[in-house]
Amino acid sequence: MAEFSVDPNVSLYADRTSGMTASEVRALFAVASRPEVISLAGGMPYVQALPQQDILDVMTKVITERGSLALQYGGGLGQITLREELASLMAEEGIAGADPEQICVTVGGSQALDILGKIFINAGDQIAVEAPTYVGAISAFSAYEPEYISIRMDDDGMVVDDLEEALLAGARPKVVYTIPNFQNPAGVTLSHTRRERLVALCHDASIPIVEDNPYGMLRFEGEPLPTLKSMDPHNVIYVGSLSKVFAAGIRIGWAYADSGVLQRFLPAKEAADLCTSNLTQLIAEEYMGGERWRPNLLTLVDTYRRRRDVCIKALEEYFPEGSTWTHPEGGFYVWVTIPEHLDSKALLAAAVDRLVAYVPGTAFYTDGRGANQLRLAFCYPPEDDVAEGVRRLAELLKDEEKLYRSLTS
């Protein structure tokens, strides 16, 4: 008798890999990547809007003028010249006078989340997250085996009362993770009052806030709200990203934190990859250094706004009774709640069959909730496709509703 060992190392892997498995949903996305499927699934920035000549100019300049620097190792914190640009960018979002020495450039915002997980979370430690929250943050944090405290969301963002209640009931989260602007996946924005309450609550309880703000500059309407970092500079760790302002493919993000945090953050970053690519750092610095990013950002915001409008209009026009959705004032996502008896994960195969894809809601929770919710990303497909995708999904939901009625009659 032989035991077939598909992977001889299986008993050797760390416990933290237990959630890292093959997934049916990923398999369905592989089918959904074919061109005739309208994908409202991935939150891909519309990089086609970038003026190609600008990018060529920037890249040529980097290689011709600073080629040997671009192709060399760099310091763990990143290029100081880029960090200065990032400090000015944060000033645009109301974080005045950021010290470039307290900024560490990372490979996208995602790496900053992973490193924060690494330096804060022991197995079994509590951390508080919004429910739903960014699936990439769940992946990053889960590797460090925390116990999640999931805080409910409504149209004004995280329900801070619930966090307070959890604290009163004895919860001791190491950090509170939030995406205050146009949250991924919920699309909602933390209100001004709640920002003040959240900052005060965490300040008093000495719990640092991780403020993840990749979408802040993609506001379609309304007044920008102050960043949490500007409201409590010492208790907030700010995570930024150029993925939406410039390009996702250059993989530039950053963490801006007090020197105590950075003292741990930097060696952890260096252990992961020594340094972020100098080449992409210099390209980012050149691009963000001039004024060329401003008109392009306006174009992007305008494009996303129109796609959001089309998405919401299509939801209103086509979606059956019994579903609700959020009204994002910016960003990439609309969060849809369908009738309780429908399961968005189970329906994904049927949706792909009808040539539309979305992300099932359960992906964004740490506790299995979200079966009757789903995320629509309106950022990438052209307007007509956004409307058509929503229409296809609406038809599916209507048919499923009939099926359910018939099954339970």
């Binding site: 008798m1 032989a2 035991e3 077939f4 598909v6 992977d7 190392n9 299986v10 892997y13 890292m20 498995t21 093959a22 997934s23 049916e24 990923r26 398999a27 369905l28 592989a30 089918v31 074919r34 008896h341 429908l342 399961d343 189970a346 329906l347 994904l348 195969a349 049927a350 792909v352 048919d399 499923e400 009939k402 099926l403 359910y404 018939s406 099954l407 339970t408 009659s409």
Partner: protein, 316 residues
């Protein structure tokens, strides 16, 4: 060297699995004096491309809809290109669990009691109340499976009648009809067959660590333990192999295939389902069975392609 078209990918939900199967088959054929070319059907105009390129045969490494249900087989018949495995009609009936179960039952092959639910009956024939009748017929616990699908996608185990509507809807998301089947507890094994007449390969016993052989258990390396031959008493194994062979023949599978069997606590075998185009990945069962019989992947694929060519000597 004969050129072999390795057909893999496709547009079924098992696209990823199929690409892995195709990759492995490609490498295996290349090891043995064949000239494999991997072709993804949805991305290549097959009917123009295949005849023009002088292929000697096609290895079908497609799984699920279009690859395992007779569709690709009929296209290849049209251009007279020899291909591996089962012909179109038997593919169609073995792939569709509703049809396969009826054929197995008619042939006297033991298969767990089941009921069929068709979406059109619910939509057009006002077949409400169907679930009560299904539960009465099948009993609980039950397994709800899409009629047409693989890799355990869309499958739900149901203990509580209240969970049945959701399970049925999940299965119908993959297929126009589904079956609700009595769940048999016991030892899960699979029987691989090779050649014509079919020779049985050693049974492979499947022990998922999570207790359920679902998609994650199938395709996460190490999530499932496999034993080949299965750890069954010789007479129990012989009985399981015998019913599997009976199923293989009743379904008219050809050259290669797999029959999944559940052996209950008393040692009685129950045929669950058939695969006319079994997975060929590192984590797939048929290659494990062959390996247990002393046939590694390269001679296995070589044998399968030779069977196709022998069967169809006049092929292009």
């Amino acid at each position: 060297m004969t050129k072999i078209a390795v057909l893999a990918g496709g547009r079924s939900p098992e696209r990823e699995v199929s690409l892995l199967s195709g990759h492995r088959v490609h490498n295996a054929l290349a090891e043995r004096d064949w000239e494999p070319v991997t072709i993804v059907p949805a991305e290549t105009p097959l009917l123009q491309y295949l005849p023009a390129q002088g292929f000697g045969a096609a290895y079908i490494a497609l799984h699920g809809k279009d690859g395992e249900d007779g569709t690709i087989q009929r296209l290849l018949d049209l251009i007279d290109l020899p291909y591996t495995g089962t012909g179109p009609l038997a593919c169609e009936t073995s792939f569709d669990k509703v049809l396969a179960k009826e054929i197995l039952a008619a042939a006297g092959v033991p298969t767990p009691v089941w009921a069929t639910i068709q979406a059109s009956a619910l939509r057009d024939l006002s077949a409400g109340h169907i679930l009560n009748l299904v539960v009465e017929r099948v009993g609980l616990p039950a397994v709800v499976k899409p009629a047409r699908g693989g890799s355990a996608m869309g499958i739900t185990f149901v203990d509580d009648p209240g969970d049945l509507p959701a399970a049925v809807m999940a299965a119908l998301a993959f297929s126009e009809s589904c079956i609700v089947e009595r769940r048999i507890e016991g030892t899960e094994v699979t029987a691989g067959f090779l050649g014509t007449p079919a020779e049985s390969l050693p049974l492979v016993e499947i022990v998922p660590r999570s207790g359920i052989y679902d998609y994650a258990s199938r395709y996460t390396a190490g999530a499932t333990e496999y034993f080949a031959p299965a750890r069954l008493e010789p007479e129990t194994a012989a009985a399981a192999t015998a019913v599997a062979l009976q199923a293989f023949q009743a379904l008219q599978l050809r050259d290669v295939g797999r029959i999944d069997v559940m052996v209950d606590a008393r040692g009685n075998p129950w045929v669950l389902e058939a695969s006319a185009s079994p997975g060929m990945t590192e984590m797939s069962l048929l290659p494990m069975a062959a390996e247990a019989a002393g046939v590694p992947i390269a001679p296995l694929c070589d044998r399968i392609i030779r069977l196709a060519l022998e069967r169809h000597p006049g092929g292009s």
